[in-house]
Amino acid sequence: MSQTNTITHDIIVVGAGLAGSWAALAASKAGVKDIGVLSKLHPLRSHSGAAQGGIAAALNNVRPVPGSGSSGPLEAIPPGEAPIDSWELHMFDTIKGSDWLGDQDAIEIMVKEAPDLIYEYEHMGCVFSRLEDGRIAQRRFGGHSTPRANYSADYTGHVLLHTIYEQALRYGVKYYPEWYCLDLIIEDNVCRGVVAMDILTGKLYTMRAKAVMFGTGGYGRAWKITSNATANTGDGVAIAYNAGVPLMDMEFVQFHPTGLYGKGILMSEACRGEGGYLRNSDGDRFMEKYAAGLMELAPRDLVSRSEQLEINEGRGVGPDKGGVYLDLRHLGPEKIMSRLPQVRELAHEFLGVDIIHDMVPIQPTAHYSMGGIPANVDGQVIADAEGTPVVGFYAAGECACISVHGANRLGTNSLLDASLFGRRAGKAMAAFIQNGAKLYPISGDPAQRQEERIQRLMDAPASSKESVAQIGAELKETMTNDCGVFRDGERMARALRKIKELQARFPNARVMDKSRRFNTDVLGAIETEHLLTFAEVVVASALNRTESRGAHWRTDFGRRDDTNWLKHTLVFKNGEEGPRLGYKSVNIDWEKYPPQERKY
């Protein structure tokens, strides 16, 4: 099959989560009509739909009942009374959450445009929960100093995703559901298209476009315990890296403190928000030792570290003593049924535990990837530390690193990030097209190279003992153990060696399914190859960063070090030699938001 088919669009978006669909919708609204969106899952299956808690924006609809303190009840702000929230406050919270590694120009844009984004969502049909007077309801979220999480019960992401996909359909966006992007074509720093497979038939296509955007989501699947969907294999990140684009801040991976034991499935932050306790094997509320003030409500990175310490010191629970207990029994059946029904269902379905009567074993779970493909505030991908654009290539959402989250993301800020910068990238691409962007020629037959890659996987000798699943499992084990909540030089060096070994073993791995039709075995192998690609970047970046900042915590360098490390990591692919590390400065307003100690 050397003759491959070609499809051409003005804009091709890879990924149909919030970032991808927003970009397509915004570009379409701006007048570009020839847009193709590919997604390896049906768009509505994208992981954005799993988000529960909410999406941040300082709407000023709600305030704590005066005098009731920081965890008291909330009430609607009566019309005409003073607002309590502002974009400045949101900005400060975000910067502090990012441990000062977030780019402040990008954060400023995000928090300023946030209310407008929420209203646009609302005008397009999103069903937000409401206050009595008809305004959008809001609630508290970790790390935010005011209640500014706008939500739809406990399935916010689901509602946003459906709204935006349906509007994109309304505006005539063409979707390619269950198409898998295999390669990105960049020549002379100009992006010319992608290579993709129609999963149903197994056929490859060269897809040419004047502008390409990646919104391929996160990469939590490199860890054994993760809250991420099986699709979150960081394909976009690995593909871009292979195509010569650098990756930024890959060492920063957020671990959520309450993943179901052994499964990683997320138990909402609301569990602790509603007053849940964390207990070790002795039954002690161990947070007393680590954050006596905020206890269980300390920020995610801190709580995850505390849990891990208990586990490491032998006070863990569960079969492998690898978890701790989340205790919700004291909340009583009424509160549990009314406020945490989904959580109760999850614990019951997956572990057979009824949280009304029993404690649930939980453990930190890989949750969110702060790093990714570096891009500016218009989603324009950059090729180096100076910000040189890769012409025609854009990125937004979790796969991108516009760096609004820096070293640690605040809950509810990522739905905002994905939507908002998806929208901005869509508008920027539309302007790019309308200003006369060209369709550049492609040299050679890039689809043929992918064809050969797939053929190699299928041709691997059936006698080979090496299995893709085994390699994947070993990688995940390594990442969880040696590049997880706590890190140190020795273990990360070991992890790096292990990854090299796995990379060397991979070419011998065999794929059992030899058919063309809907071959998830081949796709699984390709995804594993992607995991191996970016995992090396993660570990290499983390190994080099000899400080502790946000989610990156080293036991051998336990302090933040602004003198040497207030900078982004930028990793380039360097042929077979492995990653080459570089650095990029952080955009900081030294007058208004100078770095401070991060205390809660």
Binding site: E122, G125, V127, G134, E166, L169, Y261, E349, F518
Partner: protein, 254 residues
Amino acid sequence: MATNGTTRTVTIRLQRFNPDVDKKPVMKEYTLEITSDTTILDALEQIKATQDGSLTFRRSCRHAICGSCAMNVNGRNTLVCNQRVNAHLDRKGAVTVRPLPYLPIIKDMVVDRTSFWEQYQRVKPWLVPPDDVPEKEFRMTPEEVAALNDAEKCIMCGACYSACTVTAVNKRYIGPHALLKASLRVLDPRDTITNERLIEISGNDGVFRCHTIFNCIDACPKKLNPTQAIETLRKLAQKREAFVAARKERQKSL
């Protein structure tokens, strides 16, 4: 606590079919070690990883929110990611998994949902808001939002669609999932094309084709109630003009 290390051996009976190679679907048995918290999806993943890599199925989120993994377990449609194997074992210690019935099989558990999505798009699942929108949000009351809750929770898994007897014989029928979606937009006070929607869903393939069989409710993994949505739409379709007039009135104060 349920999570203990003890394992037991079970039989997973799977319907296998690759139309390119096989004449017709066959049942194959796989023996597997599971623990009490192994889900059916875990079991499938395990079989794929260790016994037969060509086993094909869809999945993504692993916790009943993405709608990928609807299949037929022991004759009942369900998601497999939130169902523990233990809960479905028959007397012989086996569980039978097939693809969703009455849909063309692409491969193994993967079915062709083309007609399902066509019907979804047919009801124009998007809201068409008024031309001039307010500076801030439309003022919907909590009651108006509550009326939309059920429909909004649908994850488009297709369990209902594949269980409905009417769609089984007639793919022109809009189907429970899409009618539930239609009810979401029809009941939304912000919608401006309610009249067209009601005309479309009261046509030959719409709400009056439902014979109140309730399979959709029984099959729905999110415990939603498409039948009730259909009955509501039936009533609104019969008093369409009055309802649309009331809607116009309501929109003046949004």
